[in-house]
């Protein structure tokens, strides 16, 4: 395949970025999108240019590190995959592909396509866990959990924290991310003790960090590589309301 790449290049957080066009040839349709970028970087380095910086690690769709906005969509044109599992067969020969970083105020660009997503860690630090110390836990089967709720909790827990939901949202809202974690624990008996505090603290932090509000367009759900459902947002709202009412 022969392609034209328009890639966002930005030297560092303070510099102004711009699109730079790179032609690339001889790409196999079975190549993954990131492998295609590897090949581009190989070329750039040999030509004495700086390679394009992008985050990636596991390359099997689970670590959540890759974060490319491809042709106007987080993780590109295929559904339910991260950029590392997107393959070039999803593009046409001769196509122009535009590659940008996540665009959201709470995710500042570090360099080129790499952004700072520590805001997500900060939200989790507020209460995205059950406060239990190591040791002294009860026998595992003493907590029985209804299979349906357990499955719903697992659906929510499948979130990989990549930030595609924020990148997709016109308000840069982190509601889908926050709701996934709140839902996981709201659906489990272990999560009940701290439920009210958890949802209030996490939402407060989310607002503080500059994430926008949800206006129900559900672009987040449409672009989520792990198909996290928007019904989690409804559950988050309910949990939040209950917590507020109960003080």
């Amino acid at each position: 395949m022969k392609l034209t790449l328009k890639i966002w290049r930005q030297k560092d957080a303070k510099s102004t970025g711009k699109f730079v066009t790179y032609p690339i040839d001889n790409i196999s349709p079975n190549c993954s999108f990131l492998e295609m970028l590897d090949l581009l970087n190989e070329q750039l380095i040999l030509q004495g240019q700086d390679p394009v910086v992008f985050d990636h690690d596991c390359r099997e769709g689970i670590c959540g590190m890759c974060s490319l906005y491809i042709n106007g969509r987080p993780h590109g044109p295929d559904d339910a995959v991260t950029a590392c599992q997107l393959h070039m067969r999803k593009f046409k020969d001769g196509e122009t592909i535009i590659i940008e970083p996540w665009r959201a105020k709470p995710f500042p660009v570090i360099k080129d396509l790499m952004v700072d997503r520590t805001a997500f860690d900060k939200i989790i630090q507020e209460g995205g866990y059950i406060s239990v110390n190591t040791g002294g836990s009860a026998e595992a089967n003493s907590i029985l959990i209804n299979k349906i709720n357990s499955e719903l909790a697992m659906d929510a827990a499948a979130c990989i924290g990549c930030g595609a939901c924020v990148a997709a949202c016109k308000n840069a809202s982190a509601m889908l991310f926050v709701s996934a974690k709140v839902s996981q624990f709201a659906l489990l008996p272990q999560g009940q003790v701290e439920a009210n505090e958890r949802v209030k603290k996490m939402v407060k932090k989310m607002d503080e960090l500059g994430f926008g509000n949800c206006t129900n367009t559900y672009a987040c759900e449409a672009e989520c590589p792990k198909l996290i459902s928007r019904s989690n947002i409804a559950r988050l709202n309910r949990e939040f309301m209950v917590a507020k009412v109960l003080g």
């Binding site: 079975n30 040999l46 910086v53 997503r117 190591t134 009860a138 959990i145 299979k147 357990s150």
Partner: protein, 645 residues
């Protein structure tokens, strides 16, 4: 260097850990606040250790090269975690889990460590459930189990095909809680460059801030390394792109012995290699062997026709299929341990029965189980794996059998540690995949997660405390000390040396070349001639690397190529040590298969007389290593040939 002392507590096997805990030294709460611990790596072992030590009241600094601790490669573990709960009432006990692990490791693991691992396995499940890890459940609400290779009981707990993710997020939650409480300080996008040793004890590290490129000095009363395995020495593996050996290689150079480096695991069920641009291999969980049947055509002409695209798998009639694992190992069938399954697949492909474009693949077929259980059940069990397969290969595995081939997955070898997980350097601990301790020559499925969390939640909190009880009078040291300055200078010089090469080939070029040598001569089948050749080739390649590697950019900035170069430089030395160790070990055991040593039936031929020991290597100088032996004495187990027939 003193002789190896594994510090195994006295008493009967089942009482050793209890005895240790009863008699270890403790640190009182006001002293804990004065003691600093450095943890490198935020995977299962690192995150769980840091969280637990923070809860106990120590000051912890934790480092990861990724943007967030949640990205560590434990996240990618799919199938499950073992524990001896015996919920299915199929006869499981702590002893049986211990026995299976020792046998699975082909009698090359340390008995006392493995027994402790089995002993704490149940507490891990309790801990994770308390954290809200959404394990699979029965309709009754109780926890569900499934089978894994090398066991005749169902003792594997799982969260769909994302068990590693869910366990890691549990540990990450616990870690995040401590970060919020201030007992743990996180340094993300930081890479450990070297350990600092003062008066014979590990006292800190030199780290590089990957964003600014600046070197930093960090003091700790003790240092824990939990940076995972070194499978990327093969270039193509199931490891993450950033997974590396650098931390354990740097401590090796500072006196921490490296044990059994040649014990590397080739996982039987991975998506086959398809092109030279490929950057990594994707695992298809071992759990698939619960319901999938592995086969190749019985007739060579059918295999050939499939390779040329003239015959589809589904068109090969039942009587012309060779379910070679079921044929060779009727007792365990498709659930034989990984080393056995991998070798059997290689044997069939080498004999000309391989399928797929390259002929380096075998079928993993779900037709029978879909017929028996229905597509829905299979989808519930393995949905995400099937989806992943389809995205990568562009073929529907519900309709056509998957094609799989073995790939480098896990490294049983690693830093030598004693019973307390301390290395041969005082005050330096290594946990998780990075150490050598529990899996011998082959790891059983669902045991890596168990070991990572055992080390972090239930071993280090005791053994580190025991060590630190002797450090309460040591005040925090200034990082202006000569030893810190010296270590930083050496790191700086090495990085400058790398940048100064200004050659003509990229880092990836050298990494790929190394991978080819390793896979060809130090992979699934090894022999003396090949290993000697590998050593020669690696030395040449290493010399070339230092003359010809091209790294763009500068030192004091975000420079991903420099990061890679620094890691590949270490792999280029480690590769040689692996070949050395493989050459030394004149036997076949577990994942280490020497073609010269096998039984008439083609099974591994161990040599217990001469090699029933841990090979712990000491670094003398580049390419020069000294062997120390830790004999393996089995008190509770009769050592015999591993039979899965």
């Amino acid at each position: 260097m003193a002789e190896l002392n594994s510090k195994i507590p006295k008493g009967p096997l089942s009482q050793k850990w209890a005895h240790y805990k009863d008699h270890q030294n403790l640190v009182n709460p006001s002293n804990k606040r004065k003691l600093d611990i450095i943890v490198i790596g935020t995977g299962l072992a690192g995150a769980s250790a840091a969280a637990s030590l923070g809860e106990m009241g120590f000051n912890v600094k934790i480092f990861c090269y990724q943007d967030s601790p949640r990205r560590a490669h434990s996240i990618a573990a799919q199938g499950g975690i073992n524990a001896a709960k015996n919920y299915p009432n199929d006869g499981d006990t702590v002893y049986r889990l211990f026995y299976d692990t020792i046998k699975g490791g082909d009698y090359r693991a340390r008995e006392a460590n493995v027994y402790r691992l089995a002993e704490v396995s149940n507490a891990i499940i309790d801990q994770c459930v308390a954290q809200g890890v959404p394990f699979a459940r029965e309709y009754s609400g109780s926890l569900e189990n499934r089978s894994f290779g090398g066991a005749q009981v169902s003792r594997t707990f799982y969260a769909r095909g994302q068990t590693g993710q869910q366990l890691l997020l549990g540990a990450y939650g616990a870690l995040s809680r401590q970060i919020k409480l201030g007992s743990v300080k996180l340094f993300n996008r930081h890479e450990m460059m070297d350990v600092v040793i003062i008066d014979g004890k590990a006292r800190g590290i030199i780290a590089r801030d990957l964003i600014t490129g600046k070197l930093e000095r960090h003091f700790g009363h003790t240092v824990v390394i939990a940076t995972g395995g070194y499978g990327n020495v093969f270039y193509l593996s199931t490891n993450a792109m950033g997974s590396n050996t650098s931390a354990i290689w740097q401590i090796f150079k500072k006196g921490a012995f490296f044990a059994n480096p040649c014990f590397t695991q080739i996982h039987p069920t991975c998506i086959p290699v398809h092109g030279d641009y490929q950057s990594k291999l994707t695992l298809m969980s071992e759990s698939l062997r619960n319901d999938g049947r592995i086969w190749v055509p019985k007739k060579k002409e059918d295999a050939q026709a499939h390779r040329h695209g003239k015959l589809k798998a589904n068109d090969i009639p039942e009587e012309d299929r060779d379910y070679f694992l079921e044929r060779r190992y009727p007792a365990y069938g498709n659930l034989v341990p990984r080393d056995v399954a991998s070798r059997a697949a290689k044997e069939r492909c080498d004999a000309g029965f391989g399928v797929g474009e390259t002929g380096l693949a075998v079928f993993l077929d779900f037709k029978e189980s879909i017929g028996r259980l229905g597509k829905n059940t299979i989808e519930n069990r393995y949905g995400n794996l099937f989806q992943m397969y389809e995205k990568i290969v562009d073929e529907n595995p519900y309709e056509n059998p998957m094609m799989i081939y073995p790939a480098v997955h896990y490294t049983m070898g690693g830093t030598w540690v004693d019973y307390e997980l301390m290395t041969t350097v005082t005050g330096l601990f290594v946990a998780g995949e990075a150490n050598f301790s529990d899996h011998g020559a082959n790891r059983l499925g669902a045991s890596a997660l168990m070991q990572g969390l055992a080390d972090g939640y239930f071993v280090l909190p005791y053994t580190l405390q025991n060590y630190l009880s002797g450090e309460i009078k040591v005040p925090r040291m200034s990082t202006d000390k000569t030893e810190f300055a010296e270590a930083e200078k050496n790191v700086q010089l090495r990085l400058e040396k790398l940048m100064a090469v200004k050659g003509t080939h990229t880092v990836d070029h050298f990494h790929k070349e190394l991978g080819k040598i390793m896979w060809e001569y130090v992979g699934m089948g090894r022999n003396a001639t090949g290993l000697k050749k590998a050593i020669e080739l690696i030395r040449k390649l290493r010399a070339q690397f230092w003359k010809d590697v091209k790294i763009p950019g500068t030192l004091n900035e975000l420079n991903t190529e420099l990061e890679k170069a620094n890691r590949v430089a270490d792999f280029l030395e480690l590769g040689e040590l692996i070949a050395f160790d493989a050459l030394n070990r004149n036997e076949s055991c577990g994942g280490h298969c020497r073609e010269e040593y096998h039984t008439e039936e083609g099974e591994c031929l161990r040599n217990d007389q001469d090699y029933k020991y841990v090979a712990a290597w000491e670094y003398l100088s580049e390419g020069d290593f000294k062997l120390h032996k830790e004999p393996l004495d089995y008190e509770e187990i009769e050592v015999k040939q591993r039979v899965y027939k």
